[in-house]
Amino acid sequence: MTTDFFSNLTVADAAHEYIFHREGMGAVATANGVEATDSIFMFIFWISTVVFVALMGAMVYWTFKYRRRPGTIAQASPSHNTILELAWSIVPLGFFVYMFFEGFHGYISRLVIPPDAIQLQLVGRKWSWSVTYPNGAETPVQQKVGASNVPVFYVPEDKPVMFRMVSADVMHAFWVPDFRTKMDVLPNRYTAYWFKPERLDVSSTGTLEDGTRYRDHFVFCAEYCGDMHSEMAAIIRVVPEAHYLATITKWNDAVDPVELGRRQWAAKCASCHTVDGGANTGPTWKGLFGRGHSFTDGSSYTPEQMSNPEFFANYIRESIVDPGKRVVAGYPNQMPPMGGQLTEAQINGIIEYIKTLK
């Protein structure tokens, strides 16, 4: 496919396509700002290529031409040349000034958020992303990327979207390679990230069940944050605006506690707790209801205790609000207190959801 693609392009476009190639999507999405960033990158790329080829050409040619011959020494040549030296100091400086200003313009346009941007709250935590929509909805949609299920965030096409970001624990960085920009997500401090997704008229990565076309973009965590750093991905799904509005309304409709709990799990717990019995950073939730526990402080709960719904609910609640208090033997005391990030209804939902995992 790529060969076909290349044959229809000029060299410059082919290089651009190769450098930023995304499987199934060609070089780029056409999101806002991508073109400006790519053009300054390609400008630097071509300047660098010319300089590099010239320098290496001179180096190789002279190395060959002036190779050592017995009985001769180097020919006389000036050991310095002020004009030449000034020239090759000042001319690059001119290019650098241009690069700086281009980069600065692109940077500022990436920072100044359009007033009509849709505002979403984004929280990064070890090791997942969660987004709260303006109406309070959170995404229940998940997709498997690599080994993990990652959340899928819906955004409308061709509308500016802004994330106000904060981290719940260590530093993360929110990077969407297709949008060519990233921003660190700091604990206890807000940062912002905005983008305007492309129009969905170029190509799409798929079609939803109802026939809606969409395009997916990977989100990666780019600031090293621990064990599952590389699993801390998400997907931004660009859909038509009508579909976006309908979807987030649907998500926010009253859902039964089990479904609410499942969504919380998907958004905030799935990176450490499996529901299928698999091993992970934290204990699996499968069969948790009614399973005896022993803790690192030597105490233990019997299966009978854990089968008592009230006792069980209290235990789960305590584990969410104050996870360091009783740590299941064999697991690290690594979970952050989640009390501030979950409503009572959500905690209740999680408890109900766990009960269903037999």
Binding site: R22, G33, I40, F41, I44, S48, F52, L55, A58, M59, W62, T63, Y66, R67, R68, R69, T72, I73, A74, A76, S77, H80, N81, L84, E85, W88, S89, P92, F96, M99, F100, E102, F104, G106, Y107, R110, G146, A147, D169, V170, M171, A173, W175, P177, R180, D184, L186, P187, F220, C221, A222, E223, Y224, D227, M228, H229, S230, E231, G278, N333
Partner: protein
Amino acid sequence: MASIDNRNANTIGAAAGHGHGGGHHDEGSYLSSRGGLIATIWDWATTIDHKKIGVMYLSAVLMMFFFGGVAALAVRTELLEPVRNPSEGVVTGQWLGSFLGVESTNIAKNNQHYNRVFTLHGAIMVFMVIIPSVPAALGNFFIPILIGAKDVAFPRLNLLSWYIYVTGSIFGVLAILLGGVDTGWTFYTPYSTTTDADQMRVVYMVLAAFILGFSSILTGLNFVVTVHKLRAPGMGWFDMPLFVWAVYATSILQVLATPVIGITLLLLIFERLFRVGIFDPGLGGDPVLFQHFFWFYSHPVVYVMILPGMAIINEIIPVHAHKKIFGYRSMAFASLGIAAVSFLVWGHHMFTSEGELAATVFSALTFLVAVPTAVKVFNWVGTLYKGSISMTPPMVYALMFLFLFTIGGLTGLPLATLSTDMHLHDSYFVVAHFHYVMMGGTIIAFVGGLHHWWPKMFGRMYNNRAAIIFALVQFVGFNVTFFTQFVLGTRGMPRRYASYVDEFQLLHQISTVGSYILAVGFTGSLAVFVHSLLAGKKAPQNPWGGLTLEWHIESPPTTHNFHKEPIVHHGPYDFDTVLPPGWDPEDYPVPNAREQAAAYARAAHSHVGHEKH
């Protein structure tokens, strides 16, 4: 050692010394041992001879390079497969666990192994290999000789910094033996202050970096004083070889920047032990403040790493092209300029975390560094023009350096540009960029410098052809490994990832294959050196025809380097007017070669140029 013992130099004069202060002169090579094994070891362990200390640094650095390299291979091997989910039967990474003695089917645990190994690789390579490689190993050996001194200014301090280096390395190894550290070599807070909260190993690793910083400070301090106070008569500032200039600039950086990492790591230790909270947002502290502290040191330290690499190239190119270096003064000032500007640009490591104002200022300043760097590259290539270029192994390495370092330098431009860095920051593009600079620059220059000075250090030649072949293997392996990573980076591969999405797999696999080729290349070079020590031909005094002071003395040098204080009468690169010592005037027709040869003969054991009598 026995094989290279006891070889007296036969090149110039073995007459009795009459140096300063009537000191006791040992006319034997500095490598000569006296007495048995124990005595020899004791002699080396307590030596204050800068050459022996240099050789000890060299062996330690090479050993650490081996460990760091093995870790790198482990990292690359792990990345052959995109995802390691044991439950899906893709278990490429599990062997990494066994590499660390822990096996697990838990994906988080396996990722943890990966994280520890890349931290190990980074910390070892930065703190224990690249920083001390050129200044502490080759610098210790050659700085005093190049300026005509008997030793560095503070020989015992020099030995102390070697032992501090060893102590630091022991703490580092201790941290590894206790299970490894997964903070990354940058120790970013709050991750570094909260990970493995009950364990001491992160503290040990931080302490190791702190102690190694001390070693670095003391070495730098020593060199600054040495260069100021111990230059031979007649050697003005602008008569110094450019190697000395660049190491001098490096030393200033070491002295001025390293204390800041000292206090940073100290506060980090306080943070872990007492949770003082200065860097911890959990306590109202500021993680970005840590980054400022860290990069105020660690950006200049990038130049602590690359300037010595440039320093070596400054020596190799003129000597092997028999050509006066182009633009001596601009080279010297470029070294100082790079050192000065390097204090102004640390914020470019933080474009995505710092404020907009600082990012803009730092971006503008960052482009300034590119100017002196570009000047240096132009000057090196300019030196080749009308030279008499001999394709010896050091020259091959120098040309490789030019190729790789130019790529490394040019790819710094999109990283200095704000908008493109927003995309490339913390991606494989950055990884490739700094490997081109640090490895393609410093390490390649270091290996090239080793080839350049090996005959002088150990008195043995090596097999030129084999050395060149392995250099080319390294060249190929290096580019295959790291050029692919540029593409990975622009396409969206973040760094420090134990797993990745499928579309990156092909490039990752190419890169991994490249790293194996690279390993073969370095192993080959090691074999060349070992063969040289065991069975190499005896090295002449001046195998390459250099003019700087080290080529005026025996190979290997005697304990006191010079039999009497040298007096410098010509510049370090005056190939068009001065006959290289030990060279036949018939073969080297400089205008006054015959007269000079006669002058050498008169000054039986003098070491530099034509002394007045």
